[in-house]
Amino acid sequence: MNIIVLAKLVPDLVEELTIDPGGAALDLTFARWIINEFDDHAIEQGILLKERGGGTVTVLVPDLDGADDVLFTAAAKGADRLIKLGGDFNGVNNHALARAFAAVVKELQADLILTGVQAHDDLDGSAGPLLAECLQMPYVGYVSGVSINDGKSLLRKEYPGGLLAEMEVTTPAVLGIQAAEQPPRYVAVSKVRQAMKTSSIEEQDASSLDPCGGPTVGRMFQPEAAAHATMIAGSPDEVADKLVDLFKELGVL
């Protein structure tokens, strides 16, 4: 089983986001990049599949600050092949990313392609279905479990309202991982350092980054407090007092 995991880096929300002076994009000059949480689950699911049924896991990451860390951490968890995709990925949309990924993945004879079901910076749909379309492969999203029997992939897919479905998919296929069967494991720093010594990162250049098909952003702005919301200011005690008064006024208390 040849498993490919696509992981992207997204701006880390631990730092405040600022809007670019143009007013239609994030200012990414000082952004801190972090692996998309769902992609981390996709890596974990890939490693779990390998541990259970053998095969190889290849992890593919666009070249942004932190890409090497993501790749070596994946290697420390058990990934076999690490590929960094070169290009200017700052602020690139998922259409462009999917096309760039597809060009590389085509050459890899994948059986399963795993990626996070979504990311907080998806402005033009999630990357998984776009990639599946580029590769002409089936796509199943919101997957929270994968098992492989006799070359058939059995998936657990989550629906809103707590519904679960089990379905089979013909491979090769693209899966959007909602959650791995276990939370992404922690790897000790010493193991990551060892992986840095024993594994290597292959660099491939993205042939082109074509964003066509995605929306054009007209304006990007911080959430604005709506007129009907009352912001209560003051020290915690004052705020609490005002809240109690307000609740009384509204007849809740």
């Binding site: 631990v14 972090i34 720093v189």
Partner: protein, 397 residues
């Protein structure tokens, strides 16, 4: 009986690597003192003495299957009680935790703290850029070494909880005001400061400790100063006892040591009476691990009106607040196993000693004891204060 090093060479090597005294493991008499004094020993499947017995019986693999090792809060009580001076806390316990960590047997909450430390340089997962935000409003302004670009006398290593925890920040600000009032020429690293890494090391993440230490070492190397002071006894322990082996060597003092040395200058400034009965909790990494017992007490006694009483467990025998060695990040896990918090025991002791104030000198403790005081019957009136806060109050700053 075979010797330990024959049985499990790699583990023995790990203990040796963790502490040069590691070879004393061979000298264990199986007296059981360590397991008896351990505050959570009764919940551990293999408290220290049993663990050593298991090693001697060649049953190392069984040790890896238990998770009760994560009850260890690295409090040094066992180490202090061992007649053979076996370095149990930094050697045996930290090494077995490292083995568990490498085997993936780690509680989720601890994983999150380690991941955060790796990524952001603090276990809470706060923005590194905001590490100096607590200084806002302090006058004269706290010097950020990267900004002032001039030598200072004292580099103040503020630490994780003192920098970010909203309750602990009050004590941090108080200390800044005390230092200002004393005219100390000090500066901080702010965003260039990383977690000291000591609790991560004692939770088994030695590699992470080394990475963090290297980053701090690099930052220290950029500036000129005469000494380091720390708010946090864990940072003090790391910089004093562990960093030198990594080539990072600076004179370091805990703030209570530093202030006690300036008693002549401090005393006339302590003008306002703080008329309370207070008791002092010896932090494990100030007291038991580093022998600093008297300086914090001297500071408290210098405050006019303050009456100092001792709890049943004091000095060498102090009870751990439960935050060390990863305990700070294992509250849920430990609660599930114990249904009691070590901080609650301590608060009960403070109450029975008749104390109105519980004075502390470690950033882990204010929030831990304040939380405990909320749940312990009769502790509603107990006030938890950092020594720095009490000094600032008496100085009127």
């Amino acid at each position: 009986m075979a010797t330990i090093e024959v049985i499990e060479r790699s583990f023995y090597a790990k203990v040796l690597e963790a502490t040069p005294e590691g070879e004393r493991l061979r000298l264990c008499l199986e007296c059981g003192n360590c397991s008896g004094i351990c505050p959570f020993g009764y919940l551990m499947l293999y408290p220290p003495s049993r663990m050593i017995a298991m090693l001697r019986a060649d049953r190392f693999d069984q040790l890896l299957e238990t998770d009760t090792v994560w009850m260890c809060v690295s409090c040094y009580a066992c180490t202090a009680a061992c007649p053979s001076k076996v370095p149990l806390t930094p050697g045996l316990m930290a090494s077995i935790k490292e083995e568990l960590l490498l085997a993936g047997n780690v509680p989720d909450e601890l994983q999150a703290a380690l991941q955060n430390s790796q990524r952001y340089g603090n276990p809470q997962g706060e923005s590194p850029r905001k590490r100096a935000d607590w200084t806002l409003g302090i006058q004269p302004e706290v010097k950020l070494l990267a900004k002032v670009k001039q030598p200072v006398d004292v580099l103040w290593f503020v630490g994780d909880y003192a920098s970010y925890h909203p309750r602990v920040q009050l004590a941090t600000k108080a200390l800044a005001r005390v230092l200002n009032a004393l005219g100390v020429d000090f500066g901080i690293l702010g965003p260039e400061e990383w977690s000291d890494g000591d609790s991560q090391r004692l939770a088994g993440e030695r590699g992470l400790f080394e990475v963090l230490a290297e980053k701090n070492g690099k930052a220290f190397g950029k500036y000129q100063f005469n000494r380091i002071i720390t708010t946090d006894p864990h940072a003090y322990n790391a910089i004093k006892n562990e960093y030198p082996a990594l080539g990072i060597s600076y004179p370091v003092q805990h703030y209570t040591e530093f202030l006690a040395e300036r008693m002549d200058q401090l005393k006339p400034l302590l003008k306002q009476e703080v008329k309370v009965k207070a008791t002092y909790h010896d932090p494990c990494y100030l007291g038991r691990a580093n022998g600093i017992f008297e300086q914090p007490r001297a500071l408290l006694q210098a405050i006019p009106g303050m009456e100092l009483v001792e709890m049943t467990h004091n000095h060498m025998n102090s009870l751990c607040c439960g935050g060390g060695g990863g305990g700070m990040w294992l509250d849920g896990f430990q609660w599930e196993k114990a249904h009691v918090r070590l901080s609650e025991w301590r608060v009960r002791e403070a109450i029975s000693a008749g104390a109105e104030f519980l004075a502390v000198a470690c950033p882990y403790e204010t929030p831990r004891f304040e939380d405990a005081a909320k749940t312990v019957q009769g502790a509603g009136e107990l006030k938890v204060r950092d020594i720095a806060e009490l000094l600032a109050e008496s100085m009127g700053v």
